[in-house]
Symmetry: C2
Subunit: 404 residues, 2 copies
Amino acid sequence: EISSSRLLDRVAGLGRVGALSGGGVCRLALTDTDRAGRDWLVAQMEALGLTVSIDAIGNIWGLRKGLVDGAPVMMGSHIDTVATGGLYDGALGVLAGLEVIAALNEAGITTHAPLAVAAFTNEEGARFAPDMMGSGVYTGALDREEMLATVATDGSAIFGEELDRIGYRGSDMPVTPAAYLELHIEQGPVLEREGIRIGAVTGVQGISWTEYTISGQSNHAGTTPMALRHDAGVVAAKIALAAHEIAADLGPPQVATVGVFELSPALVNVVPEKARLTVDLRNTDNDLLKQAEARLQSAAEEAASAHGCTIARRSLARFDPVAFAPQVIDRVEAAANARQLSVKRMPSGAGHDAQMFAPACPTAMTFVPSKDGLSHNINEHTEVQDLVAGAQVLLDVVLDLAGG
Amino acid sequence: EISSSRLLDRVAGLGRVGALSGGGVCRLALTDTDRAGRDWLVAQMEALGLTVSIDAIGNIWGLRKGLVDGAPVMMGSHIDTVATGGLYDGALGVLAGLEVIAALNEAGITTHAPLAVAAFTNEEGARFAPDMMGSGVYTGALDREEMLATVATDGSAIFGEELDRIGYRGSDMPVTPAAYLELHIEQGPVLEREGIRIGAVTGVQGISWTEYTISGQSNHAGTTPMALRHDAGVVAAKIALAAHEIAADLGPPQVATVGVFELSPALVNVVPEKARLTVDLRNTDNDLLKQAEARLQSAAEEAASAHGCTIARRSLARFDPVAFAPQVIDRVEAAANARQLSVKRMPSGAGHDAQMFAPACPTAMTFVPSKDGLSHNINEHTEVQDLVAGAQVLLDVVLDLAGG
Ligand SMILES: NC(=O)NCCC(=O)O
Ligand SMILES: NC(=O)NCCC(=O)O
């Protein structure tokens, strides 16, 4: 059985690493706080008797022997966060994995198949794009050398150099799991609104991240008639609003977010010469997502040409929608039912490491509710009984899959 | 007579201070490069025999005695630049003033009235708003203590502390000039397009700078349905486009510029919680300018309420349109005609130190053409013969007003 105090102790322990004064945490991938979180995690794994491995992209996993050798049943998620992150996004999946191990240790149970608990590098994509980088490299969906050469979104660092700097470039070879399970907070409002305790996640919607860089001409804000301007900022504002109109037009589940919007030289009385913005588009339907991308691109080209500016487009991430394994989804649902926890099948709006495992092995996820649907926000919160319920379902499904 | 080589030597000398590798200069107000420019200027003034004064806001002026005591005829402008500034914006007016003095020294002429050459602090408003700060304090239009307490637009410094740091907080008392004359590049396309050598400036259009700060709620870009968002960035984009629509709707001479646009936390997959943008609105007609401001404010309020965000409005600068003295404008025009230089009466689109003097003493400006109408751009350029023609007109009008 899951111990809520043991689970909460670990949540608090990791939560102190990168804690923000106003609440929440900032453990951006490959920063010093990420390193401190990793050091803490490795120590916890070793204390639980796990054999720790680190691969060439910095993924960390701990192995627990089974009665037989072979591929492990893996529980995983991530410990990196966005700049304004909460305590549970990612951390819960890793820490519940540790709690599953602790519970088995306490009960003296050795599963038939080996078990593993993993934390994947840079799931958030907040400092380096794309997201799900560690799990993508682990499963072969992303190219390792290309990822190691990635430049930070703000241009300030190179992925591989930062990995060396924090001392987490390992040499262990990834093992393909027998099955992959991830517990995560929903990060959205659905479970809370419907009063449901457990989400049996059916898949992940498609994700498309695009960066547009617009080049115009800087000029004087007072003397340059509107008709003679090449204002990169107006073009960027038009692209931003086009993204929102496309989402409104296609309707749910299409979403569109402009998270980054920068002007240069960024002075009150100078017409902007350069603008850079990112657009995050998502849809469960890949055809609709492609339609949204195409419409955005035409809107961008049209806006640029209307203002005599040029645009450059760069894809920062592109993941097709993913479906999880029906037999694992069924087990999540069954485990929740057996514990008298209300359960709902639902897609995930957020990207997760699990989606990188889906093509490689039987995979599914368990969601627990997020208060007010808030995430990527320091006020992200999940109630204790939901954290425990999620960990319990994880334990039950792991025992089911690994043979308890 | 003006010496083009002496004038160009000084242009090159000051142009080396803060020179950018790709061309142009960066001498933002009260930075170390501004200090270096000031040191250079003070040395030049002293070498020409001027008595240098520095006041409490850092304005620098050099006095040349006349045959009688009394208020000087002042030539002035500024030596601070925007981050991507050109060689002539501001600098020309100060350096042409020095050249007038050099020419009189060489010819052994002492004018009836005293002469002064002035460089005013922070005309650009690029690092600290409002613009025309030094001349505004000099003439009493802006409050000295309030200006000294101004925080940099990027929040990084306080005006008075920076002034102390560069050693240019003086204690000399401003003197009200008998007349004020400013030579400046047009910074716009009109003279070049019409093939005219000299602009006799009739006044300056009204300037309104507003900063909007929008507060929403950060949330996850993948899981938060569009309808549940409080996206500060969309509100900011709507305000930016509203500013442009207002300018299109009112038509010339109304202009609108969004030079600063920032999001926070500025991550690809996080709905922005905060946005900050600046809007620069200008019109020669104060009623139309007020109309533009009012329409912008309603658009901002409407956008904020549509997205469940709050907005805060801050005025960074507000100057009414200014008319120059007809008798001084006439003299500029007459001087150009006498030299067989084509001349045109025209308003100024940019703000200038001269507008702060207009209520205090007879004031006017002389414009020379800007290549391609470019300004606040490292490729800003004015042909040598135009620099010399402008300085010649300045000399002629000064002799006319001061009695040669
Ligand atoms: N779960 C999560 O927040 N992942 C980050 C990737 C994304 O969905 O933007
Ligand atoms: N002349 C000039 O560029 N002044 C700066 C103030 C303005 O924005 O007009």
